[in-house]
C-alpha cells in the first residue's frame, strides 16, 4: 500500500508510468500490423500475377 501511494505523488507517478508503457505496447502493435498488412498485400499481388500468367 505504501508503495502505491508513492509518498503522496501517486496521482503524478502512476499515470506517467501507465502512459509510457501503453505507448510502448501500442507502437509494437502498430508496427507489427503495418508489416503484416504490407506482407499480405505483396502476397495477394504475387498470387494475382501467378494466376494471370
Amino acid at each position: 500500500m505504501h508503495f502505491l501511494r508513492m509518498g503522496g505523488y501517486a496521482a503524478y507517478v502512476w499515470p506517467s508510468v501507465g502512459l509510457t508503457v501503453a505507448v510502448m505496447l501500442l507502437n509494437v502493435y502498430w508496427a507489427r500490423r503495418a508489416a503484416r498488412q504490407a506482407l499480405a498485400v505483396a502476397r495477394r499481388r504475387l498470387q494475382m500475377q501467378r494466376e494471370g500468367a
Binding site: Y12, L19, V28, A34, L39, L46
Partner: protein, 246 residues
C-alpha cells in the same frame, strides 16, 4: 570494407533478411531492460531528498525524451543518406521513424507536465525546453503529414527528407536549452560531460531503461522498415522470392 557493408545493407533484400534476423536480438533484451529498469526505479532506487517519490517519473520521462531526440536524429540522418545516395533502404528507415518519434515526444511532454505540476506548480510554461520539445512534435507530425499527402513515393521521400533535415537544428536547441537560457527545467544529470550528478542506486535503473528504450526503438523501426520495403519494392523480383519461398 566499410563501403562493402554500406552497400550490402543498402540493398533491400539484404536489409530485409538481416533486419528479420536482428529483430528478436533487439526486442528481448529491450523488454527485459525496460521492465527491470522501470521496476527498480519505482522500488529499489532511494527517494530524492528534495522531490521525494515524485522524482521517479524520471524513469519514464527521461528515456522518452531521449527517444524523441534520438529517433529524430536517425530520421534526419537516414533521410539525408537517402537523398544523397538515392538509397531506398535509407528512405524506408526514415519513413519508419515518425510514428514512434511523435508518440514518445508526446509522452515526454505529458510526463514532463505531470512532473512539473507538483514540483514547479504548473503543468505548462512557455519555457525554452518545453517550447522546443513541442516544436519537435510538430516537426514529426509535419513529416508524417507530408508523407501521407504525397502519393508518389519518390516525391514524398524528397519533400519529407528536406523537412527532416531542416528541422534537425531543433535537436541541439532542445538539448542545450536548459544551459543556454534560464529555464524552469532542471539541467541534465546524465547526458553531460563529466560524472553524472546522481548516486549509483538512482542512476543504474535509469541507464537500464535508456539502453532498453534504444534497443526497443531498433526493434520497432526494423519491423516497420521491413514492411515499408515490401510496400515500395512490390514490383521487384526479390519480393516475389522472399514471400514466395514458403
Amino acid at each position: 570494407m566499410a563501403w562493402i557493408w554500406f552497400h550490402r545493407f543498402g540493398s533491400p533484400p539484404h536489409f530485409y533478411r538481416i533486419a528479420g534476423k536482428l529483430i528478436p536480438w533487439l526486442a528481448w533484451p529491450a523488454a527485459v531492460l525496460c521492465a527491470a529498469g522501470i521496476l527498480a526505479g519505482l522500488t529499489l532506487a532511494p527517494a530524492d531528498y528534495q522531490q521525494g517519490d515524485g522524482f521517479r517519473i524520471i524513469y519514464v520521462h527521461a528515456p522518452s525524451a531521449w527517444l524523441s531526440l534520438m529517433v529524430y536524429s536517425v530520421m534526419a540522418t537516414t533521410a539525408a543518406v537517402g537523398l544523397i545516395w538515392r538509397m531506398p533502404v535509407a528512405h524506408a528507415v526514415s519513413a519508419s521513424c515518425s510514428t514512434l518519434g511523435a508518440s514518445f515526444t508526446a509522452v515526454a511532454l505529458v510526463t514532463g507536465s505531470l512532473w512539473g505540476r507538483p514540483m514547479w506548480g504548473t503543468y505548462w510554461e512557455w519555457d525554452p525546453r518545453l517550447t522546443s520539445e513541442l516544436l519537435l512534435l510538430f516537426l514529426y507530425l509535419g513529416y508524417a503529414w507530408i508523407r501521407s499527402a504525397i502519393e508518389d513515393v519518390n516525391r514524398a521521400d524528397r519533400a519529407s527528407a528536406v523537412l527532416a533535415i531542416v528541422g534537425v537544428v531543433n535537436v541541439p536547441i532542445i538539448h542545450y536549452s536548459v544551459l543556454w537560457w534560464n529555464s524552469l527545467h532542471q539541467a541534465p544529470s546524465v547526458m553531460k560531460f563529466g560524472k553524472p550528478t546522481m548516486p549509483a542506486s538512482m542512476l543504474a535503473p535509469l541507464l537500464m531503461v535508456l539502453v532498453g528504450f534504444t534497443l526497443y526503438f531498433g526493434a520497432v523501426v526494423l519491423v516497420r522498415a521491413r514492411g515499408e520495403l515490401l510496400r515500395r519494392e512490390r514490383a521487384t523480383r526479390w519480393v516475389a522470392d522472399v514471400i514466395g519461398e514458403r
